[in-house]
Amino acid sequence: MSEIFSPISVPMAKPAQAASEGAITRGVLIGIAVTFLALFLVLPLFAVFTQALSKGIAAFLDAFREPDAWSAIRLTLTVAAIAVPFNVVLGLAASWAIAKFEFPGKALLITLIDLPFSVSPVVSGLIYVLLFGSQGLFGTWLIDHGIQILFALPGIVLATVFVTFPFVARELIPLMQEQGTAEEEAALTLGASGLHVFRTVTLPNIRWGLLYSVLLCNARAMGEFGAVSVVSGHIRGLTNTIPLHVEILYNEYNFVAAFAVASLLAVLALITLVLKSVLEWRFAGELAHGRAH
């Protein structure tokens, strides 16, 4: 702009950018994509909150006066408190074994760990019914010994652990594989013990990936519906998790209460998304690549 007067300062018909679409096409495509996402993804989320508050704040709060709601919340927290730490330990063990060592059948092991992702939630519940149900493989034995797995906490935890089984492992395995073993070996040559190396070298390298996977694992553990629905027996105040409680309220046409309780899960989903995005923007280099699950 320093030289405003110039003999050959031609107002240019700019050649179209070679490797992109024209501005109009771009605008139209952005418009379609954003509209589509708004209609299909954002509107349902929005609907949860408007429905929950449709009869005012008092009606909204009433949903949480019910003891059944609180027992559902308690049960969901209990289940997550068991399932998530379990998956963390499992994920750490699996990724340590797979990423730091060479052994035959590794690819198969990874595939098997991923298996629960490709099983329908309902089938994930069904397989435990087939084992522990009254007519299941171990049914009679369990009844004889007075052990309750199905329609009780153990069954719900098992089903939840099953559906969340791959979450931590599949994030940590590629992450640890990328990092290799050089740092651990260096630490060992310096005389550190195995556990010390894990705590001071490995863990700091994977902490953001671990946090990332714990977030997603927790969201799924608290929100799982299909698998838990099959094994829970829907006993009010006893074996209903939050999603199951939502279902019951909805089926009883108690829409405001159903959406009020559902909004709790929607907020959880939003928090998860925000934290997840923050991790992706800030620590992209410390998360596993090529995530598409």
Partner: protein, 360 residues
């Protein structure tokens, strides 16, 4: 696409006519100016090398000629036609990228035929004609029989040859090569260089190529255009730019040189009171910097020398002997001499200046 054949209509009487005229082109990316008011005429049929260090703007200039980037100011003319507003598709240029940019999912033959197949039906040659042209080009790049292979099955040098054939297939009015040998290893580079020159001699295709490698530019080009920080410093034949560099920048960029304090008076250049064979440009008087190439320095007896110092190191490479001499002020002079005598480190020597350049 009406102008596609314009580049080939030059009548012989016009030659050497201007194929491409770059008129006062400026370009700024974000806030950094990349090209300053740069003008250059490219003659029809010549092979011209744009030489410059990285960041000199040479690749940007090439992309502006191709229409991949738009200049902020200035014009690009193809012959007499203003091409500044033409889209890249309408310019009929052949562009060869440093990293080949071959279409991985297409066979070699399909890659070469791509530009012909992409034409509108009315302009598109018949299938048999395309096939014949692809066959001819495969012969030209010495890859006959490779038509059905995929790029992933070729070596780097082979890929770059395919990229060149792909660009030639559309019979471009100008061939633009962006660091065409930059991604290849030394030996392949040398072979391809010679081969590109052969192809150019055979086809007479107007060609502009970008390189930061002086040897490559000097060996390959009819003319060299030296760019530095967005400005054109000099254009000339390889001999011209070497014998008469226009400025210190060109001098330094074209090869090793040492700076010597000198005095200019009456067209003569004196070093420590001793006259040198160097001629100072008219009007230059007083203290100047004299730039001397290593082979313009010669070991001499201290009493007849312009400079003196002690040998720091000496080694032989490819029939040449290179001696580094350091003077009392710690300045280092590289000398190329052929006397075949060993010069031990610490040995005191004198240096005679047999040539050099003084710039205004």
């Amino acid at each position: 696409m009406s102008s596609r054949t314009a580049g080939h209509t030059d009548s012989p009487s016009d030659r050497p006519s201007t194929a491409i005229r770059i008129e006062a082109v400026s370009k700024t990316f974000d806030t950094a100016a990349v090209l300053h008011d740069l003008s250059l005429d490219v003659r029809a049929g010549e092979l011209i090398g744009l030489l410059g260090p990285s960041g000199s703007g040479k690749t940007t200039l090439l992309r502006i000629i191709a229409g991949l980037d738009a200049p902020d100011r200035g014009r690009i003319l193809f012959g007499d036609d203003d091409a500044t507003g033409l889209a890249v598709q309408e310019r009929a240029v052949g562009f060869v990228f440093q990293h080949y940019a071959l279409f991985k999912h297409m066979s070699v033959a399909d890659n070469i035929a791509y530009g012909l197949n992409a034409r509108r039906r009315a302009d598109r040659p018949a299938k048999a004609e395309i096939k014949r042209r692809v066959g001819d080009l495969l012969d030209l790049i010495r890859l006959s029989g490779f038509g059905d292979r995929y790029p992933s099955q070729l070596s780097g040098g082979q890929r770059q040859r395919v990229a060149l054939a792909r660009a030639l297939a559309v019979e471009p009015r100008v061939l633009l090569l962006d660091e065409p040998f930059g991604a290849l290893d030394a030996q392949v580079r040398k072979d391809l260089r010679r081969w590109l020159r052969e192809i150019h001699d055979r086809t007479g295709q107007t060609t502009i190529f970008v390189t930061h490698d002086q040897d490559e530019a000097l060996e390959l080009s009819d003319r060299v255009a030296v760019l530095d920080r967005g400005r054109l410093e000099q254009v000339g034949t390889p001999d011209e730019v070497q014998e008469n560099p226009a400025c210190a920048t060109v001098m330094k960029f074209l090869g090793d040189s040492v700076e010597v304090e000198a005095i200019a008076e009456g067209g003569r250049v004196l070093v420590r009171g001793r006259e040198t064979p160097v001629v100072a440009p008219a009007g230059i008087i007083g203290p100047v910097k004299l730039y001397v190439r290593p082979w313009q320095l010669q070991l001499a007896e201290p009493e007849s020398a312009h400079l003196s110092g002690t040998v720091r190191s000496s080694y032989r490479t490819q029939g040449r002997q290179r001696i580094e001499v350091v003077d009392t002020e710690g300045r280092v002079f590289a000398v190329e001499d052929f006397d075949g005598v060993r010069h031990p480190a610490g040995h005191p020597v004198g240096l005679r200046i047999n040539g050099g350049h003084v710039f205004g």
